[in-house]
Structures are given as C-alpha cells and as structure tokens.
Amino acid sequence: MNISMFDILGPIMIGPSSSHTAGAQRLGKAMYNMIADKELTSVHFMLHGSFHLTLRGHGTDRALVGGVLGMNAYDPNLKNSLEIAKERGVEVSFEGADLGDVHPNTVRILAHTSDGQIASLMGSSIGGGNIEITEINGTAAKISGKYPAAIINHFDRLGIISHITSILAINQINIATVLNSRDATGKHAVTMIETEAPITDMVKRELESMTAVKNVVTMDRID
C-alpha cells in the first residue's frame, strides 16, 4: 500500500477532526462531483455510528454540507456552510441511521436536483481525511477519491471491457485501478475505473454511446 509523505503531513484542513471534519467534507465533495453541473435543491444525510454522535461537536454537519456545496477541506467558509446553504435555497436535513455492517464513520447522502433526479452515494471516513465511497446510486463501489473515476453500468458482453479501456487509451487516459463485477453472464455488470487523467465530457459521451452501456457516472478527484 502506497502512502505519500503528504498523507502524513496533511490534510491541510479546517479542524477539528481529520475523520469527522476533513473526511466528512470530502464525502460531501464526492456528491458535489457526482452531480457536477446540475442544480442542487435539497440534500439529506443519513449518518451511522460515531459519525452521527459527532455531528455537531466536530462540525461534521457543516463539513458535509460544505463539501456538497463544493468547498475544499481548507475553506474557511466550511464554518458557515449551513447558513450558506440556506442563502442558496438548498434544504438540508440529517438523521441517524443503521446502515448495516459498515465502518463506524459512514454516511449515505441523497441529493435532489432541479431536474427531478436523486443522486445517492454511501461512503466512509476511514481516518486521516481519507475516504472510501462504497456505493453509487445503489451500485457497490470502492472509490478512494484520490483519482478521477468512472462508474459504468452496462450489460456483460464479450469484449466490452476491452472496448471501454480502448476508448480511454486512445484518449491518453492511463488507468490506475479497474474493478469489474457482474450479476451473471450477459446480465447487468458494472465497471469502475480510476484514472490518472480526468475523464472529459467527450470521453464520457463516447462511453455512453456504446449500446451495451446503460449509463456512466464520472467523478473528479475528490479534494
């Protein structure tokens, strides 16, 4: 496992807690990256375990909301994110929940956008500001946020993974990690790729244009 010297000397962050503030901000930011250009109307947070207990004391609530509004870990506006959300007309709500056999610091985020869609993700703050996204729109995932990522829902077809990776290669996008799983031969499958370069809208459309591909969610690096 690679650990950068800046994983130790960092993150540069607004306190008080790397797990419950910085990590929370990044989980919120994952949702911000997911909904990208869409307009957020309301966001609901379901918090598990110690995450819920630290909601106010560690500024977890402010950090989650700040992240969803697009703030970075070192943005002083994190402190006032709840007021800022109100000013922008974004409704915010929190509840404690039992999310199952998950890391103690886990949250499910449900974001409603003005086009009537709901985006959902589930992720954990695993320490030192690091996160792991474990579910995207109901599909199991394993995204660290250290790289840009694409989650491709498709039918299992001969050669499809090769086709997907060729599109990336032709566009000079090097793959860092790739994870694939499927329900059964020929049935629903999901391929999750973390890349070294951002996945542009053009590449995303190219991936979506494949007949066997149902949809593609892309996410910038989560800062």
Binding site: M1, N2, I3, S4, M5, F6, D7, I8, L9, G10, P11, I12, M13, I14, G15, P16, S17, S18, S19, T21, A22, H48, G49, S50, H52, L53, T54, R56, G57, H58, G59, R62, Y74, P76, L78, K79, G96, A97, D98, L99, G100, D101, P104, N105, G127, G128, G129
Partner: protein, 308 residues
Amino acid sequence: MYFSAKEMLAQLEGTDKRICDLVIANEIELYNTDRETIFSKLEERYQIMYNSAHDALEKEIRSLSGLTGGSARKMWEYLQRGSMICDNTIIRGAAYALSCLEVNASMGLIVAAPTAGACGILPGSLLTVAEKYDIPHQQVLEALATASGIGQLIVKKATVSGAEGGCQAECGSAASMAAAAITEMLGGTAAQAFDAAAIAMQNIMGLVCDPVAGLVEMPCAKRNASGVANALVSADLALSGIFSEIPFDEVVEAMYKVGKSLPSTLRETALGGIATTPTALAMKEKIYGKQDAASGCTGNCSSCSGCN
C-alpha cells in the same frame, strides 16, 4: 519503497543519506513528482503549522463549543515572565502546541500531522528546537520529511486513528515522528532517530482516547503540550547515546496490538476515561442537552458497543 525501519536502515547502510533523503526519493519515484514540488508543498505546510502555532499566543481563541481557549496565551505569558520549572525550549513548544489545538477547535486552519487531534506536537517540537539552535530553514523542511517517514511506517503497520488505537496512535505517533525529526535535524544518525521514535512511543503505550463531550479539546490540547515534552526528552535520550533496546518496528506493532485490545469505551467514543467523570458529563449536558448527554445513545444498537 520501504515498509519498516529495518528496511530503511538497510537502504541507508553504507551511504551518507538520511531518513529524509529516503522519504523524498521514495516520493519522487512513486508519485511521479520532483524535489521542487515536494519542497514547495513542505513550505506550504510549514507556513500553516507556523501560523497555527502562533495565532492563539497573544489573543484568546475559544473553541466552537465554548468549553476551551486561552491556554496558549496563558502559557505564552508565563514564558515571558520567565520563572518556569522547565526550560524555555519546552515551555515555548508547549505554548505552540496549545495554540495549534485551539486554532483547530475553533474550526481554524491546521495541518493534520498525522491527525488533527495531534496537530500540535510536530509543529510545537520542531519549531521550538529550530528556534533554539537557529536551524537553517531548508533543514527544518527536511525534518518535516523525516517525520513523515516515521508516520508512513506507522500507517503501514499500525494506525494513527484514535478510534482504532487510542491516543497512543495519535499523540504517540506524532511524538515519535517529532522525536525522530529532531534527532536527525540535530545530526543524529538514522538509527538514533528511530530509537528516539521508539522511546517516544514506548513512553505513551496504552494511552487511551477519552475526549470530554467527544470534542477535540480536553484532554487533547494538554496532551499535545506534554507530547512536545515527550518528543524532546526522547530525542535527548537517543542523542546521548542511549539505545531503545526494543526496535522501532516492534514497538509500533506492540502499540497496534495494545490499541486493538483497548475496549471501544476508550477509543474516541467518550464513553470512558475522563470523558465519563462527573465534571465531563456535566459539560456534555451543557452542550448537548439532557437526553443526549445522559447516555450518548442514539438507539442505533448495531453501530455502537457502548453497553458492553
């Protein structure tokens, strides 16, 4: 690549390179970066550490909860009055550490090193020693790199999370990192630096994480202040020629095992230690209201082992 102190020492054997050189070379190789970028990032972090270590010295910064604040200023004024028991170096370091924690608790900007709860120990220790010996700035940045190397080993083999390993994993790790950094910065060998790190960690073995009202305030700030003392004494022990009979890698493993055997009540749940003293519970009630405070229970039984 390195996964242990033993490996690092082997890689340094017969060379005139230091731990920081190995860390920087490793970073360049694994992350496709260069010296200039690395030192620019170290400088950025140094500035934030410096600022957070000084911001609360002359003005009182109160925490979000209102429970704490003003200790860094008291320590700083005490230092100016000049009649301390400990020498200037330690008291100044302690004041810096307290300032970092007060900035942190007021949702100010800090560098987690390795965590926010322990963010005062490395800056406090390093800044005060650098000031004492008027160490050239470049060497101070290199010392940060040394510290990060020790932290990398601890993350690889153990944990730096209070929820997983108790305060020994956070403040212990930070003190280990600082002790090694100071030792190497003052000309100690890599072996001495690892011994200093091992000693600092041994001194804190078993320390629990028992935050009052679950906040990163009490006893966190004062533990950072004493963490500076731990780091400085450990560096002195190593530089005097005293060895750590138990090697660093084994001490880290021991810390990990001790951490895992700590009950969850003593691992950042505020369900044990000073967090459940009458005074602490009264403070918790004042902040969160009567019902929440009484049990800390949210009714999510499967996510909590508070009743065990």
